[in-house]
């Protein structure tokens, strides 16, 4: 599975992304499992709402954090997310 750069990215309907107060971090919850996310991974996934493509996510985050050159890192993370079923593209 490879990310299609033309299609919007949607967070999985069978996973849940949630802030955990006790752990002070965002987590992905799924049947009998949990993945703890670092801050940047969580920021990326929050933008996977089914309306934005990879390029749009990159530019929004570059703007938000006033930085450049995030494309490769974000692409690499989303590939992993896709392999794990956390996101999908229709």
């Amino acid at each position: 599975m490879i990310l299609n750069t033309d299609l919007p990215i949607q967070f999985s309907r069978t996973h849940r992304l949630q802030w955990e107060e006790a752990q002070q971090k965002n987590v992905i919850l799924y049947p009998e499992g949990m993945v703890e996310l670092n801050e940047s991974s969580a920021e990326i996934l929050k933008l996977c709402d089914g309306s934005r493509t990879l390029a749009q996510i990159v530019s929004e985050l570059e703007e938000k954090f006033a930085t450049q050159g995030l494309h490769n890192d974000i692409n690499a993370f989303l590939e992993v997310a896709l392999q794990n079923g956390w996101i999908h593209q229709n």
Partner: protein, 375 residues
């Protein structure tokens, strides 16, 4: 007790709510204690709500509604709703028996995240024999409805000598039912499974063959179905890291309100497991004798104590050590470094002899009559 410091106690992440020991099925490898019929009282709806609230506050996030058959509790939707309001990810661990489409919708609306349906085999005849109840066709229907209503669908099949030869068909069945996850749970030999071990424990060759088939299948369904393979520890030479370490992650509450560091722990002697009627979850988790008993490494005996792998497997399972050696402080006898490894080898040999003999004993099914007879 000695050697732990309260500063390094990690909060619970997993809460297993065993709502009831009542169950319409009679699986002969049930993880409930043999003497479950003695513990017939059940805590009430408000007690469960308090437990959920207190554990969530400490950091528990994964919640399993289990049993017995949790659907026998009329207040299940109310508890599911309470759990959702608190932010739990809730898993219903069910036989599917008595689960209707209306109930599936009601639970979804209450906020249930996931339903795990157990199927005992890939054929009606064997499923209904193992379950002790005619249930196969209904279970398949339930699996279909779970999927239809947007839940991630987890199929759980407990593997043992009566069904291990069906591995290729079990995999095909999971694919045909559209399972998102397939849990192939090799039987763990406690309680009822311990009593039936000679009849359930597969030979090493059977395990190897089944595992090979499952691994090959795993590659063909990559990206569509995830397979959890629960290892058969008798055929390993290192023990499992039981419960991710005692009192580090898992909290089980039994139907009568007894809090347990693992669901088998009420079989251990003199732990004095506390009851949620008497203490808060925080007191139980942090201060109770039972939850501190095997925390850390100070309780260990040799060869664990000086072993460089102790931080990886925590000496294995305390319940298995007690059940098979009579000493709950001993190294899990699965470990090849254990002076008691021979008890595992003898169990494997004994099961092989039973497998090859013509007149096998009948299975002891899990029901109240047998529970009273055996305890």
């Amino acid at each position: 007790m000695a050697g732990y410091t309260k500063t390094n106690i990690t909060p619970p992440r997993w809460l297993l709510a065993e709502l009831t020991y009542a169950c319409p099925l009679q699986c002969p490898y049930c993880s409930n204690p043999i003497d479950y019929a003695k513990h017939s009282s059940e805590i009430g709806t408000e007690d469960w709500k308090r437990v959920l609230t207190q554990a969530r506050k400490m950091g528990a996030v994964q919640l399993g509604f289990s049993g017995g058959e949790p659907l026998t509790r009329k207040d299940l939707p109310e508890l599911v709703k309470h759990a959702r309001d608190l932010g739990y990810y809730s898993n219903l661990i069910t036989s599917g028996y008595g689960l209707t489409e209306d109930k599936i919708i009601e639970l979804k609306e209450a906020g249930l995240d996931h339903i795990q349906v157990s199927i005992q085999a890939s054929s009606q005849e064997l499923n209904d024999h193992i379950a002790g109840t005619a249930s196969f066709e209904h279970k398949k229907q339930v699996a279909h409805l779970v999927k239809k209503h947007g839940y991630p669908m987890v199929l759980c099949v407990v593997i043992h000598r009566e069904n291990i030869h069906q591995m290729p068909d079990i995999l095909k069945m999971a694919e045909a039912l559209g399972a998102d996850y397939l849990e192939l749970a090799n039987t763990q030999y406690y309680g009822w499974a311990h009593a039936n071990r000679d009849l359930l424990l597969p030979t090493k060759e059977q395990f190897a063959e089944a595992e090979k088939i499952a691994q090959e299948f795993k590659e063909t369904v990559a990206g569509k179905m995830k397979i959890y393979y629960v290892v058969p520890d008798f055929h390993e030479d290192r023990p499992k890291a039981c419960m991710n370490g005692w009192g580090t992650t898992f909290l089980t509450i039994a139907p009568d309100g007894v809090a347990l560091p693992c669901h088998s722990a009420r079989e251990l002697p003199n732990l004095e497991c506390p009851n949620v009627n008497d203490y808060s979850i925080e007191e139980i988790w942090t201060d109770s004798k039972a939850f501190n008993f095997f925390r850390g490494f100070e309780w260990m005996t040799e060869p664990c104590r000086s072993c460089d792998e102790k931080e990886k497997d925590f000496g294995g399972c305390r319940c298995q050590a007690y059940l098979l050696t009579g000493n709950m402080f001993a190294t899990d006898p699965v470990c090849s470094k254990s002076p008691n490894r021979h008890v595992i080898d003898e169990a494997i040999a004994s099961a092989r002899t039973a497998a090859l003999s013509d007149n096998e004993k009948p299975l002891i099914f899990r029901n109240s009559k047998n529970s009273k007879l055996l305890s």
